[in-house]
């Protein structure tokens, strides 16, 4: 009898694969109507002491690179060229 032992795939199974997360949010002074609606709804649910909710986007990016610094540079480039509209959005990169 063969037990199912194969795992579909494992993240970070390859040595030279680095994983990052990018969080994109609207800048502080840009109106975030979706976040506002979510915030109002949470308040309506009876949850107290809520200060604010801002809605954003989250990306997980894997990159074939040994050097973390190089990988980080590439992620920065991706953010600036496509993921983020710098006029209205801020972003944070985290190594996972």
């Amino acid at each position: 009898m063969k037990l199912i032992s194969e795992k579909p795939y494992r993240l970070n199974s390859k040595k030279n694969k680095l994983k990052f997360s990018v969080t994109v949010t609207l800048k502080k002074d840009v109106l975030d109507p979706q976040g506002k609606v979510v915030q109002n709804t949470v308040t309506n649910l009876g949850i107290k002491n809520l200060k604010s909710i801002r809605q954003g986007k989250f990306f997980e990016i894997e990159i074939d690179e040994n050097d973390e610094l190089q990988a980080n540079k590439k992620i920065e480039e991706i953010c600036k060229k496509l993921l983020v509209n710098l006029i209205i959005e801020d972003y944070k990169i985290n190594k996972l």
Partner: protein, 225 residues
């Protein structure tokens, strides 16, 4: 006068613009976004729609497509560029026009005829209109809330780069007549050389009295003259 209309996956006003251009005797060609060269054109139109399903941000993916490099080159050499609705969003994503279009303030998709006022009629896009003329033009968008920083807003005003503003029937520009929350009721802007116009309202929908009105015709006839 030769025109080209760029089509992206998800464009849905490309045919309407082509009909309007042909009605006005433009020699028009349709150009698929994967093309790497543009036919010789005096005018390039980026039509409305939902290019790439509005993934990431409206216009963001189309703004990096192959044909856009050619559009940018043409724009820099003085070719006239008109971006309508999603086309305006794409132009801001390419950087050809400054600022950006945020989600409508009320979070709703708005499809209705609104009044807009001609703020600058001394351009190739608007010379057939009278200054301060009030037009009734259809809007249909989810992200039409024009936003830009204060420095650029000052530049827009100082250099007379605001093309149209939302207003009421009497031409009064106020909060009630602002459908989407756009800064200072801005409905359309020019670049500093005034060879690029981006606007949220759809002039191509207003060229036939039997289905709407003819307030959009003068935009195309201005381009011809």
């Amino acid at each position: 006068m030769k025109s080209s209309v760029i089509i992206f996956p998800g464009s849905n006003c490309d045919r309407d613009v082509a009909v309007a251009l042909e009605k006005m005797q433009f020699k028009n060609q349709m150009v698929w976004h994967k093309e790497t060269s543009l036919p010789k054109s005096d005018l390039i139109v980026i039509p409305g729609g939902f290019s790439y399903g509005d993934y990431l941000r409206s216009g963001a993916i189309a703004g990096k497509s192959l044909i856009i490099d050619e559009v940018i080159k043409a724009a820099n050499s003085g070719c006239l560029i008109l971006g309508i609705c999603n086309g305006f969003q794409i132009l801001t994503e390419t950087g050809l026009l400054k600022g950006t279009l945020l989600r409508n303030k009320n979070l709703k998709f708005i499809n209705k005829d609104v009044n807009i006022k001609v703020i600058n009629n001394k351009t190739k896009f608007s010379s057939k209109y009278k200054l301060n003329q009030v037009l009734k033009i259809n809007i249909a968008h989810n992200e039409g809330n024009y936003f830009t920083n204060n420095n650029h807003l000052e530049e827009l005003k100082k250099e007379n780069l605001i093309a149209f503003k939302y207003c009421d029937e009497d031409g009064e520009i106020n909060e009630q007549s602002n459908p989407n929350g756009a800064k200072e009721n801005i409905a359309g802007i020019f670049n500093s050389k005034k060879n690029i116009l981006g606007m949220m309202p759809h002039p191509e929908r207003m060229i036939d009295r039997s289905i709407s009105n003819t307030d959009g015709i003068n935009l195309f006839s201005s381009l011809l003259s």
